[in-house]
């Protein structure tokens, strides 16, 4: 086993520009023996020569000339999309609805799994110091929590915050809780899928559209900035003008009208397939850990770490993984040129 491929690595990597990648066969194919790959030796060659092993797949090693600059990978994104700019907090997982496409599998039967006020307060405080510029509270249905006003105020005390809700519970003591929140720092994002009840109620339950519409009006009347977010099957996201017209009539600014495609996650039996590689992360914290994105916060394949604190470390890990995926994707693009 002479590791003859070392000569090929030196020649091929040495011939390309810094930052470019090459894929080189690194199998030891001695006569009469089976093909074998010494992964440690490949990694060691890259380490010694200051190059980056992007991927070792089968007998093929993809190597980047020089080292990737993680900051350069992140710099390619718009400022608002850089991982760690927005921080999602799952306040709880239980919900008064059981939507058939819920990415978090929330329902009246789901365990609460609440973050709790102490952790939310600490997360909000650390977020401000870790470069986060916006907090988003979601669930489950946050208004099921008796201390939702304290949770929201702990967040708005640190950063501008958005509170996601189905808007159906804004009555009585829950309306009182809403009224105790900071109108200058809190936006209320309410889920509504269609300009008429049929589509919305089909997925979210009979009568839910009317009560949500009432909630939108209540939140707006109370002086909160209201965003409305619709979750639509991929094929329906192009014909949305009637929906926009309806939201216009409610006084919702166009910038606050959000149409998002259904994700194949949680309770949904179809929708966009989202993987770590295809999804730009938005750091998401639940009672169980730190996840890649809010759409996958109930899925182990998107769990980044079960250690919530210090938050800056969790954010750094998400950024590191993202840079890694980006580097791999860039390399993949170079493996399969069109011409």
């Amino acid at each position: 086993m002479s590791h003859r491929w070392v000569l090929d690595l030196v020649e091929r990597v040495g011939a390309v520009a810094a930052g470019a990648t090459v894929t080189v066969a690194v199998a030891d194919t001695e006569a009469g023996s089976e093909t074998d790959v010494d992964a440690d030796a490949v990694a060691e060659w890259c380490r010694r020569t200051g190059n980056q092993l992007v991927e070792l797949r089968g007998t093929l090693a993809t190597v980047r000339r020089g080292r990737a600059d993680p900051l350069a990978e992140l710099a390619g994104l718009p400022a608002g999309q850089r991982p760690g700019t927005r921080l999602w907090l799952y306040t709880n997982f239980d919900c008064n609805l059981a939507c058939d496409y819920c990415c978090a599998r929330s329902s009246p039967h789901a365990d609460r799994r609440a973050l709790g006020l102490d952790r939310v307060r600490r997360l909000a405080a650390e977020a401000a110091g870790a470069g986060v510029t916006e907090l988003l509270l979601t669930g489950g249905e946050p208004f099921l929590l008796p201390d939702i006003d304290e949770l929201a105020n702990a967040c708005t005390a640190q950063l501008p915050t958005t509170l996601l809700t189905n808007g159906m519970l804004l009555r009585g003591r829950r309306l009182d809780a809403l009224r105790r929140m900071d109108r200058a720092r809190l936006a209320v994002q309410i889920s509504l899928d269609s300009p008429t009840p049929e589509l919305h109620d089909r997925h979210r339950g009979s009568g839910s559209w009317s009560r949500t519409l009432a909630g939108i009006r209540t939140a707006a009347e109370e002086g909160f900035r209201v965003r409305v977010a619709a979750t639509l099957p991929v094929g329906l996201t192009s014909d949305v003008e009637p929906f926009h017209a309806f939201l216009d009539s409610l006084g919702i600014a166009r910038a606050d009208q959000i149409i998002r495609p259904l994700a194949h996650r949680g309770a949904a039996d179809h929708g966009l397939t989202l993987t770590l590689e295809s999804l730009v992360p938005e750091v998401t914290v639940t009672a169980d850990g730190v996840y890649w994105h809010p759409v996958s916060a109930d899925h182990d394949d998107h769990l980044v770490t079960t250690t919530l604190f210090p938050l800056a470390s969790a954010i750094a890990e998400v950024r590191r993984l993202f840079a890694e995926h980006r580097a791999r994707a860039t390399a993949a693009a170079q493996w399969f040129p069109c011409a």
Binding site: V6, G14, R48
Partner: protein, 267 residues
């Protein structure tokens, strides 16, 4: 732009562009601004230095020796890499051959790199002759014109040993380092002999470039700092930690070799 110093370099990898754009940017706004011109081979570059097209040439050791010959010693070296002062040639054979020293190569078939490579062809022959060792040579001219800069002919020489087309190969210390000094290729190679250090590349100028223009450029070049994040990538790509004043004693063996082997002034 008229007053900028013009530095020539040979484009032997795409990274030469990155290196020289970085060096040009490093000098921008300073007392010795510069631009660069890339050549496809060292003969073109030395010709351009002699006809005044460029002010300074980033020369290999063979290009330096030829420039000295063609200017009758009137050219001068301005600076070199720290790594250029400690270059070596390594003779390697298949692991287990247990050959120690050049005498062990007597009568053997030795793979050499491109014929214009000082480290992998001209100096190996010189060292063998000085040791009184007659050997058969397998010359592998994979990158003629670039004086062995691409390293390809040295890798081909190593392949020749693995394929048993040669008993040993002569390569530069750079290639030996790049393959992990044999540690990453178990059972492949072992060192037979390591040469004394000699000098490799340098910045070469003619008397037409007076000190008033050259000195500020050299001062600023020597001030590039490995610990400065803005300088580091350029230094890494060019293969040095710092620029140093030239060590001309290190070219003595190559002057002897060129004279003894009758290496032409042009190639």
């Amino acid at each position: 732009m008229q007053t900028h110093l013009l530095v020539g370099a040979v484009a032997y990898t795409p990274n030469v562009v990155t290196v020289w754009e970085g060096i040009r940017d490093y000098f921008a706004g300073g007392p010795a601004e510069m631009d660069f011109v890339l050549f496809s081979n060292y003969q073109r570059q030395v010709d351009a230095l002699l006809d005044g097209t460029i002010d300074i040439a980033w020369n290999t050791n063979l290009a330096w020796v030829r420039t000295v010959a063609r200017t009758e010693g009137k050219c001068r070296a301005l600076a070199m890499r720290d790594t250029d002062t400690v270059f070596r040639t390594i003779f390697v054979a298949r692991a287990g051959s247990a050959w120690e020293g050049l005498a062990a190569l007597r009568g053997k078939r030795i793979a050499l790199g491109s014929r214009d490579s000082a480290q992998a062809a001209i100096l190996p022959v010189h060292f063998l002759r000085r040791a009184g060792v007659d050997a058969e040579y397998l010359r592998i001219d994979s990158d003629v014109g670039k004086h062995g800069d691409t390293g390809r002919s040295e890798l081909d020489a190593l392949r020749a040993v693995l394929d048993e087309r040669a008993d040993a190969a002569a390569i530069g210390i750079g290639t030996w380092e790049a393959i992990g000094r044999g540690e990453l290729m178990p059972g492949a190679f072992e060192v037979v002999w390591t040469s004394p250090v000699y000098s490799h590349c340098n910045f070469t100028a003619l008397p037409a470039l007076d000190d008033e223009r050259a000195a500020p450029w050299v001062d600023q070049l020597l001030a590039m700092d490995w610990d400065n994040p803005a300088h580091r990538p350029i230094l890494e790509l060019e293969g040095l930690r710092r620029w140093v004043p030239p060590q001309l004693d290190g070219y003595a063996s190559l002057f002897d070799a060129v004279r003894e082997q009758g290496i032409a002034e042009h190639w």
